[in-house]
């Protein structure tokens, strides 16, 4: 029997995932969830990020481009790491903490409804179905933990003490973000087949 469009899409994403996995390119906090989803019959994952603390090369207008990352950590960050990064830098920067983002795909409306149910049950307020075509439905899930502030223009906007507080806050938000991923992982294992 010829494969359906969904089966072909899932197979392609499974291969891409296995390749990324073998190269160590899957963010560790999302590894268990992505591996589980890849092995289900009805779902696949496409892009993902487990959440990050970062310094962006950007002036106040913040025209973000992928090339604009100055430093990026998918984990909590120590103050001295941040300070080291800053002493080497002479241009404008933004400080950001962004939540996880994950795309999960499926092939039928019935399964898409399950994904929305998973989102709601896991207390994830942001995201939704962003691709809706025959045999290919994709849901985006993302957290709500954010910090975003211009950190340096001609000079630093935050002094060392203030920056320490902002980083501590960002690290706490990373913890909350990882907790949300854990809840999502537990629920996905119960709800998706």
């Amino acid at each position: 029997m010829p494969k359906t469009r969904f089966e072909m899409i899932k197979e392609r994403h499974r291969k891409t995932f296995e390749e990324a996995l073998s190269k160590g390119k899957i963010d560790e906090p999302l590894l268990e969830l992505c591996e589980f989803i890849s092995k289900t019959k009805n779902y696949f994952t496409s892009s993902h990020c487990s959440g990050r603390i970062m310094l962006l090369n950007s002036d106040l207008n913040e025209e973000k481009k992928e090339a604009a990352f100055y430093r990026k950590w998918h984990r909590k960050v120590e103050f001295k790491e941040l300070m080291n990064a800053l002493t080497e830098c002479s241009h404008p920067l933004w400080f950001k903490m962004e939540p996880f983002i994950l795309h999960i795909g499926c092939g039928t409306m019935e399964n898409a409804k399950k994904l929305i149910e998973l989102k709601d049950k896991s207390g994830i307020k942001r995201g939704g179905i962003m691709v809706l075509s025959e045999g290919k439905i994709i849901l985006e899930l993302t957290g709500t933990q954010y910090i975003s502030v211009p950190l340096k223009d001609k000079k630093m906007l935050l002094d060392e003490q203030a920056l320490k507080i902002v980083l501590e806050t960002a690290n706490k938000k990373m913890d909350k973000n990882f907790e949300q991923i854990k809840r999502l992982t537990i629920n996905a294992k119960k709800m998706l087949k």
Copy 2:
């Protein structure tokens, strides 16, 4: 002929909208778009916010509750307004600029696809279908312009000069946010019936 579930839901939301409109409770930048959608045959709006600059009553852990707004402006803010608000305040605060958020509903998959097309054509990266039931589908649309930073703990984290720069940046982001609403409004008028 008895009304369909969608027709009943649309009628209820139309009434709620008209009531809010008569009380001046629709955010001005989203007024044209919401009025247009309310008059279409196939769509309705439920909750909305046109974007805002705000001061939140919140410690570093930021457990946001609706009651926690200390100041909220759905427009650009002057520096002296912000300073006035701050001199009156003796507790921890966060400074935030958040983008618009809008929920648009419809009754069929065909019309839901149009909404996703509208989202994509308007360059809106965040959001998606978050409710998917018989006769009631709701799409959330939201911008990507954010500033979010703890502003005051025991003392201020930003000095006056830094705060001025952050507020100017927030005001520029409000402009971009309103431009995105305009693009969305123009496209909605072309695409939704």
